[in-house]
Symmetry: C2
Subunit: 337 residues, 2 copies
């Protein structure tokens, strides 16, 4: 608080110099063992707590790592955050959380804040259209993209083969005999939205069918959008016999709306979800994503880059990217027609 204990206080207490105290606490063999122990004893007694800010300023490197994501309420981002927090803690870093709600200005503020804090690294799931300034700031930091991939940002990326993921789910429905298949997806301003829709379309063209565009609904990747979109899909005109939810929050929204409308799954409607939803009853047929593995890989990569960047100056590792595969987990929410 106001009057925290510093090296100086310990030094005065022991009639030693500040540097000796500093070295003693760092277990520098240059200081005699006896002194080291006396120092540590007094430090404990006084309740000394090192000032990582001062240390960071002197040494040039902070122990902060930033995580910038659009949301944190749902399990998908929760799992990402948890995995990264674990990795950070193990490596002696602290995770600073920035929620953007996909708002470019909020995103810019968060990024700026993290750069001001001199975060050693940044993990970001960028908003659809990041500010020029955001991009400029990010390009000057040690940064990794997670899940979404922004073209204008030349930094490594860790994510999912979204196209293959949705393709597998859609193909599964086609194989079960469905033709009027609905699609709830993020708008194509998002890299994930583009890839997923492409996967959906490829499943049809590969089967020699036409893409049922009248059943495709694109919007914000929120539960609210999915609920609303599904409702319109269900009440206006011809109904689909199956739906692909191309996003974790969209899956939630779809299921909520279906429950609310009394739509029986899979009797009235077959559903393929995105991301695991172990809570759904009955078990959901879903596209399983190795969320935790992605986050771990991303975190470890970032830490490696931070350690590399430390001695020499920044090296451009722009092109790198790692793609993870999904798996279709069969459940009871789809049926043959």
């Amino acid at each position: 608080m106001s009057g925290a204990v510093t090296l100086k206080h310990i030094a005065e207490r022991l009639n030693l110099s500040i540097s000796t105290i500093g070295r003693a606490l760092a277990d520098d063999p240059q200081i005699s063992l006896a002194t080291r122990e006396r120092v540590k004893a007094v430090a404990g007694e006084l309740g000394y707590v090192a000032h990582s800010g001062a240390r960071a300023m002197r040494s040039g490197r902070s122990t902060l790592i930033g995580l910038i994501i659009p949301d944190i309420q749902n399990e998908f981002y929760g799992t990402l955050a948890k995995a990264l927090a674990e990795i950070c803690a193990n490596a002696g870093f602290q995770l600073v959380l920035g929620i953007t709600e996909d708002d470019p200005e909020s995103e810019e503020r968060q990024v700026r804040g993290l750069l001001e804090a001199r975060a050693s690294g940044l993990v970001i799931t960028a908003s659809p259209r990041p500010t020029r300034e955001t991009l400029s700031l990010l390009s000057r930091s040690t940064c990794v993209q997670l899940i979404r991939r922004t073209g204008q940002l030349e930094v490594p990326w860790f994510g999912i083969d979204e196209e293959a993921a949705i393709h597998s789910g859609t193909a599964h429905l086609i194989e079960l005999g469905h033709r009027r298949i609905g699609y709830l997806g993020a708008s194509t301003t998002l890299s994930t939205g583009r890839s997923r829709l492409a996967g959906f379309e490829r499943a049809f063209t590969e089967a020699g069918l036409e893409v049922p565009r009248e059943f495709v609904r694109l919007g914000r990747p929120r539960a609210a959008f999915a609920a609303e979109a599904f409702e319109s899909l269900w009440t206006d005109g011809e109904r689909p016999t199956a739906i692909v939810a191309a996003g974790a929050r969209l899956t939630v929204g779809l299921l909520q709306a279906a429950t609310r409308l009394g739509v029986a799954i899979p009797a009235d409607l077959s559903v393929v979800g995105y991301g695991d939803a172990p809570w759904w009853n009955p078990n959901l047929t879903t596209i399983s994503l190795p969320v935790r593995d992605i986050a771990l890989a991303c975190g470890e990569f970032l830490l490696r880059r931070i350690r590399e960047t430390e001695p020499s100056s920044a090296r451009s590792a722009a092109g790198q990217s790692v793609t993870f595969a999904s798996a279709l987990t069969p459940g009871a929410s789809t049926r043959r027609v």
Copy 2:
């Protein structure tokens, strides 16, 4: 990065002093408007980013606020974190996330880390048995307890009237005619565990019934425990006709296990959940908690305390606490017997 732009660089570029640059960027009227604009222009051109660490060291206050919670994967803590992150962002603070997994040593490391970072404030949902050192560190910080309440920690608390919450859910089941009611709860080493169990028991004693202790299962507040406990409850001996899940993660675990075992809800078993689970099918009868409101109130209180603490030295606001009420949300997961 390696060579960040500092006030000094701008000063040299403009043949001005460092202090003038600093004041100009802070819009100090002491500096002429013309100079201020020239400085800002050059700052933008050079890509100057203030060093909040240095600022914090000089001014004594950082822009960091710590959030220490056992988990972040589930929606309950996700909602807390999101609300807090919003409040922090709006007030110009940054949220540092620490996940403890209810491990006292991890918790101590996180708390120490935040004190080292000179976080302006701390929000903590403490583990069952915090370390002595943890308590000592916390007592020296501006800190608020969230949800759980640790007796040894004399700091303000924001949480739920847990006893009343579980009481309402249990009484609801009793009123529906249930007698063999199971209880899945956190162990009573947690303040929440104690209060919730007390609410469960009071519902029976108030109705002149005996507490069905053979159906009570206490353990770690994780989905895994609830699943396991329910399975044993369901397969060993006489079955309960209803269950109260006294925790968000326990609710998830119970529902998963029930789905897995093919237990029909509410035909075979009535269920009262804890915390909203809008995704469950059919709608869950649940104890709704004003999670977001709690977090917002907690965050605003903390910010106020931070601002108060700033000028004078720390004031003890030890005894304060705010209790929020829950509401029983009727759903389709309970039936009369």
